[in-house]
Each structure stands twice: as C-alpha cells, then as structure tokens.
Amino acid sequence: MDQVQGFTAEEERLWHEEGALTMADALGGEELQTLQGAFTEAAERCKPRWLSEVAEGTKPAAFFDIPDPFSHHEFFLDLVDHPSYSGRLHELSDGQICFIGPQFRTVPPSLLSYVGWHYDVPFSNPLHFKIQLYVDDVPEEGGAFGFIPGSHRPGSGPYPLVRDPADMPGHHVYPGRAGTAVLFNSWGLHTAMVNHTGIPRRSIILIYEVFGKRIYNPERYRRYAHRMNTMDRRQLFGLEPRPPLAA
C-alpha cells in the first residue's frame, strides 16, 4: 500500500485560506483503469431502473447516481480511505473523520448547472468536507467543480444571486485529469459549472464529517464489517465511535 501522506505546506494553506484544493493523480495506472471499468459496468446495470424512476418523477434526470455503489465492486469501498488522501483527511479532522456516504455520479450535459452555487451545510454544522474524484478527464468547460475561495469562513460574503454560475465574482474552477481528487469544505459555496462539452461528467463524491453523536450510526455500513480490519477503519465507517479528543 502507498505511503499515507499528510498535507504539504501549500495544501495546508489552501485548505485553511481557500477551503478547497486539488490533488492531481490521486488515482492512476491500474487503479484508475479498474475504477473506470467498474464504474461503467455498474452504471450500465443500474441505468434502466433510473430511467424508469426519472419518468415517474422520483429521481432527477439531471444526474444519475449508481445506487448502493459499494455493493458493485470491492474497490469502490477502498476509495473512502485511499492512501493518496486519507492522511490529509485525518489531519484536517484531528483524526475524528467519519464517513457519511458516497455518490457515484454521472451528470449529463445540460444547458444549466444542475445545482448552481450553494453550500451543503450551515456554519452551525460540524466540519463537513468532501472529496470529488474525477473518473474521466474534466476540462474547465466540462462541468468541473467550482468553489469560491474563502467562502468557507464565517462572515465571508455577501455573495450575489447569479443567473449563470460563471458570473459569480471571485470563483475558481478546478478542472483535472482522470484520477484527480478535489477536497473541499462543505461550508463553502460551490457548484458544478455548466458542461459545455456535450460529454457526460463522471465523478465520485465522498462525504465526510468530524465524528459526533448526530452522525454516529453503526448500522449504516454493518454489512461491510468483514472489511473493517482495523479500528480506525471501523471508526471511519461508523461501526465504532471515535474516542473523544483529549482536552
């Protein structure tokens, strides 16, 4: 297994000052090929049902999430604590990281961003953060992730209501090659930019939060307990509570 790394000095600055950063080549080579192939197969299996749900109005047409993704391929679960970023995630959460859920998402090309600028959780929520892992190359015009640096800080803004995500002052777009991971603070304003390429954007969004009773749920990933072979992993997936930090 690769060496687990913490933040570089520049990454630490970006995390604290801007709230988002990219890690190029977080996945590569054989791992990336495995991911791409398994993603394609799982999506093909699940798409007919999704189309039915879209027609019924019970699922959005604007994005397609592979349901229950960890059941489709063993490697999918290993992405949650992949060594290319797990050290950073531990560091930013003082070791209190807890995994909440995955989104294995394909976004069809559209004239609109499907989300627009938004935050995921208010500042009253404990630190909440995400990894967005690009499955394919995502150019700047291909529905890449956008973030407003500094918007993760209480008191930042105000930010205007905009018609087009590209009109937001001060935003930054995070394109990347396949295998690039974008780490961002969910307090901050972010979006998927409009995809002008005509090519669907595939990415995996992994959602984390610092441990707390509110999110503690040992049943959520109980069925994968046989793969939780270390205490840290059991705590990451919520099978065990994280011990409280020393005062």
């Binding site: 109005g57 069809p108 609109l112």
Partner: protein, 316 residues
C-alpha cells in the same frame, strides 16, 4: 396627490365547463360525467364574493376546436373578466393553424396553449435537438405570433425544458402548478380532485431550475436564468401529503419566491377542483399561509399584478 391604482386580483389558472351537450361538446369521464358542470357564472359568483377581478380559463374537456366551444362562449360573454388558454390535438399536423383559429375565434382572448408532452428523448444522456421535437412547430409559431406557452411538462420531459427556453427566449412561458413535472401516477380522490404522486420538492427541479434548492432554505446563490418564464402558485391540494394549509409545501414556496421573485409568480386556484376542499376563500388565504413574509407590494404582485402585466390583461 393622486391615489394609486389598486392592483388587480387575478386567478391565473382554472377550468370551467358546461354540461356536455351539442352546443358545448366535451369529453366525459367517471370523474367529470356529462351532467357535471362548473360554469363561468359559478366562478364569477365566487370571484364577486372574494373580490377577484379576473381569471385565466384553461381549456378542459378536449383539445379539438369543437370542444373549445364553451371556453369561447365564456370569453365572448365576459370579455373584461377572462383570458383563455387552449389545447392542441396531439396528432395535429398544422398546430399553428389551430392556434390561430383559437385566437381568431376568441377575438384574441385565447392567448396561448397548454403543453404537457414535449416528446424529448427518454434518456437524458441523449442529445436534444429542439428542431426535432414534435412541439418545435408550436414554439416556433408561438414565437412568431406572440402566444403564451402554458407549460405542465411530464417528469420524463423535464430535462428538455431548458433547451426550449434557450431556443425561444422571446416566448412567454407560464410554468404551471409550482413548477412540478408530474410522473404518470395521477388519480382522483373522493372529493373529486386530481391527485399526483410526486416527491416535494420535485426531483425535476434539478433539470428545470438548475439550482440545488429545497432541502436547505436559502442555501443557494442563484436566480432563475430565463426572464420569459413565470410560475403558478397553485395545485397544492394535488401535491401535498398534509391537510390545508399544506405546511409541507411552505419550504418549496419560499424557494420559488427566492428564485423567481414576486414579479414572476402568479396565484391561482385551479377551480373547480378546490371547491370541496379546501374551498375558494382558503385558496386565496394560502398565499398568506405559505408565503407569510411577502411585503404588501410583493403580495399584490403574486395575487394579480404579475399576471396582469405578463399576460397583458388589458381590461384590468
């Protein structure tokens, strides 16, 4: 000082129909049998009682020219009170001619047509070329003749909607019933009301609105990108899982207000389906119930000024 002109109150979406007859032919069904009627006079009685100045009558009971007879009758009988929205036969090979005949037959008071089936690709990953959509000639004609599109798309067509808005920025569009794009699960309840089984806020909002709103109020920094589109504040009885005043829909109403603003929101009752439950008066009060933070001016917009301006309701 000149007193300001009071804003009109306009019911922006409802249906009237007569008993089925040779004079006023219409489709009949178990829910709307031949002897059932919801006449313009019954409506006007409610409007008088509750100080509603005007209404938009939306064709019900068929899409052929013949079945528009009662709508035309009402528009001729009460030209200062009503505007009309027509329907187009799905198999019409000359929809533009049909639209023109409706307009001409109503002395211009049928101002547009209602569309539901847009006929886009079922798979949202397939490219959309609006010129190949079966409704393209209708939108093209609406653009040419300044007709209004009264839009109530099916869920499966939600992803097609922005393509049409983008292609026809000059066409005025009124998104029906809270911007919900319903799936096929429709039924009638014991109170004679159509019901739709849809999650609220609607999942289709990601396609039609392009904003992640609804779950957390006010977490978005976006506004609706198409100036030519308004939305109805109506149909709550069909989508809510709670009794009047439908508190489960309050969040979605506030989201619509934030994104559209009062100048693009239109109050409507969907008469006559609401007569038994919740009642006409209660539908008027819903705006206060579900949008309690509107200013006086904003409420006037929603209750009629937007409709009067957007639809050019010249009599009011």
């Amino acid at each position: 000082m000149t007193p300001s002109v009071p804003a009109p109150v306009i019911d922006a979406h409802l249906h009237v129909f007569a008993k089925a007859s040779e004079e006023f032919p219409r489709k009949v069904s178990d829910q709307v049998p031949a002897e059932r009627e919801a006449t313009a006079e019954q409506l006007l009685d409610k409007m008088e009682k509750h100080q509603v100045d005007g209404a938009v009558l939306v064709q019900f009971g068929g899409n052929s020219l013949e079945t528009h007879a009662y709508l035309l009758h009402c528009l001729h009988s009460y030209p200062d009170r009503f505007l009309g929205i027509g329907l187009i036969p799905a198999d019409s090979d000359a929809p533009g001619d049909h639209m023109d005949r409706l307009r001409d037959g109503s002395n211009g008071r049928i101002i547009g047509v209602r569309l539901s089936n847009l006929g886009g690709p079922e798979d949202p990953f397939e490219p959309v070329d609006v010129r190949h959509l079966p409704v393209y000639p209708i939108w093209e004609h609406a653009a040419r003749r300044d007709y209004v599109i009264w839009l109530y798309p099916r869920a499966r067509d939600a992803h097609v909607v922005p393509h049409l808005f983008e292609a026809f920025p000059e066409v005025r569009v009124v998104f029906n019933h809270l911007m919900v794009c319903p799936g096929p699960k429709f039924w009638w309840d014991k109170k004679g009301r159509p019901q739709a089984d849809v999650p609220m806020p609607p999942e289709t909002r990601y396609s039609t609105m392009g904003l992640k709103i609804g779950r957390i109020l006010e977490n978005t920094r976006g506004t609706y990108p198409y100036d030519n589109v308004c939305v109805h504040i109506s149909g709550q009885y069909a989508f809510s899982t709670q009794a009047y005043p439908y508190p489960d829909l309050a969040g979605w109403h506030n989201s619509l207000r934030m994104v559209f603003g009062s100048r693009r929101m239109m109050w409507a009752t969907d008469f006559p389906w609401i007569l038994a439950d919740p009642g006409y008066r209660e539908c008027i009060d819903l705006v206060d119930e579900l949008l309690p933070d509107l200013s006086v001016e904003e409420k006037e917009d929603v209750m009629g000024r937007t409709t009067a301006t957007f639809l050019r309701f010249s009599a009011l």
